[in-house]
Symmetry: C2
Subunit: 339 residues, 2 copies
């Protein structure tokens, strides 16, 4: 392979992100300078937060520039290293973007360049042990602070983050109810992931069903969705409830601002807290979390699903899958196998 295929951000989406927001080009493979590493991308991670990176506004990361390769988490393999810490053939995790090859300066890279421990499959590394799994871990435990016997409600429950958050809540002894779209996702949550109950927001009345499935009210709401789902959940919060704002996917592709919940005063009446977080802030503690997550996986307490697409040409449409609810579990795309 002598060319570097890339999907560049061509324009900023208005509404649902799609193929026409990106431009395919082929360029030369870049050459690493001193202190840099050339990485070939093997797996790409797809995350709802990428939609926010495409907007031209201040956020927790700068926007992706027009004409820049779309930013994405990735697993790759070192092709050429001019950095003492890395050698050709190393499997690494980084933010490689939508391209075959990326130059990484390990000491300056966004979210770093990290070697993958031997024997850990890329699918696991990019899902339950990756950003989404760690987001679930800290969001639930640090902000949600679930206690045994409490009720934890999770929206986007079949997603890469929600499914892990709910299972960790089960491990902590909570009653766990998930909200997801469609019978297939709901069946997986109940039968495989061990959720106590599920709500199919596409086919059920969410507000009423929260009341039915959470008879002791909701102590922790782990929200990936926002909008109407958040409002429905706030109708059922318990005293001193914790609402963990992880994401708001229902609004990410909206062309106009989506009104927030009309019942925020329930936070006052119930002395409740709503709090946001970004997993980047916790990365210095990643090793401990990974250790605990691996223990739960090996013990059979924590299941994860990966939706693995293939084909470089399918990269843009794979991002759209997140926002049309097509994925179950972590959305990945495999570009190539390791050498």
């Amino acid at each position: 392979m002598n060319t570097n295929r890339q999907w560049l951000l061509a324009n900023r989406p208005h509404g649902l992100v799609g193929d026409d927001n990106f431009e395919y080009i082929e360029t030369n493979i870049p050459e690493p300078a001193d202190g840099e590493v050339l990485v070939r991308n093997l797996y790409l991670s797809f995350d709802p937060t990428q939609r926010g990176w495409m907007e031209d506004r201040e956020s927790y990361l700068p926007p992706v520039a027009i004409g820049e390769a779309m930013r994405a988490g990735s697993i790759g393999q070192v092709v050429e290293s001019r950095h003492a810490g890395f050698a050709t053939g190393d499997l690494v995790q980084t933010t490689g973007g939508w391209q075959d090859f990326v130059i990484v300066a390990p000491d300056q890279a966004l979210m770093g360049l990290n070697k993958i421990p031997a024997g850990v499959p890329p699918e696991m590394m990019l899902s339950v042990l990756g950003v989404t799994g760690l987001t679930a871990y800290w969001g639930l435990l640090d902000l949600g602070q679930p206690k045994a016997g409490e009720t934890v409600l999770v929206s986007g429950a079949a997603g890469a983050t929600g499914s892990i958050a709910g299972q960790i809540a089960k491990i902590k002894g909570c009653r766990v109810v998930g909200i997801a779209g469609g019978p297939e996702k709901c069946a997986w949550l109940k039968n495989e992931a061990g959720f106590d109950d599920v709500i199919d927001y596409k086919n059920e009345q969410v507000d009423a069903r929260i009341g039915e499935t959470c008879p002791n009210k909701v102590d922790v709401f782990f929200d990936n969705v926002g909008g109407n789902i958040l409002e429905a959940a706030l109708n059922h919060i318990n005293m001193h409830a914790r609402v963990v704002l992880c994401g708001g996917i229902s609004g990410y592709n909206a062309t106009d601002p989506i009104p927030g919940p009309a019942n925020l005063m329930n936070l006052v009446i119930m002395r409740a807290r709503m709090e946001g977080f970004i997993v980047i802030d916790y990365m210095d503690r990643a090793a401990l979390a990974v250790q605990e997550l691996v223990g739960w996986i090996e013990g059979g307490e924590l299941k994860y699903q990966v939706d693995l697409q293939t084909g470089f040409e399918n990269i843009p449409s794979t991002l759209t899958r997140l926002f049309t609810g097509q994925n179950i579990g972590k959305q990945l795309l495999k570009i190539a196998d390791p050498a």
Copy 2:
């Protein structure tokens, strides 16, 4: 006086509360049983939260029943005591309601029956040392956790709670900006209460003015208003900001639910927290707070304003004043002087 004048809740308001939601009656003066105290009401407290008590819905207190004397905080004087802890002539604070006389069972009373320390004027006891002052104290200090040098934004800043919250933030070394309605209120905040800057929401663009007056962004937003003001403030929160949800007066008289802020995702991006509270939960610690508040008043660091109305017949319309923004500072009504 041989009759007990009362204003009963006649029907539940739809929209702005007004005189026609109440019925005036005259009854006999009730007689205390063993363990009870007969109190004559002298001063009534008017608080935005009373509007919520009139709704037929679960909240932090049960609704006022139709046909019941409207619930209200009060200061009164013991007329007859059949409780060992109280004697005729004692000045007391309780929840006396809209009536001349009330029977209180001190050991069961809502928010208790408490003797007023000698020498404390009723106006001070029902304002800065009362529920509104204590709400400001704990809301700001316990939830807001202001640190010297931080920026604290207060909505409803000329109100009984907001004005105290802002001044406590000044005492703690913060830059304090208040949002209030009209030049008179704004002038008082700046010239008397020592706010660093003020925003007149009736005559200025709140969102833009927050940006101007809070160049280092908002670390603590103490919100009494909700609605558009809350949304504007969320546009300017700093990293790890604390949004103290004290009240949402903009929605209390709405006939339809008012949408919440469309920018809740800013809580995620800024890793910020929004939290509600009810002052009742802190009442076991009231003595310490009162001691500190008195110290600040005596030291000239803490000013308070009382809007004192008179006339039993004006009780219902005095409640409406809160929601039309007529009051500056704590709204009270004096029924009678102590004997």
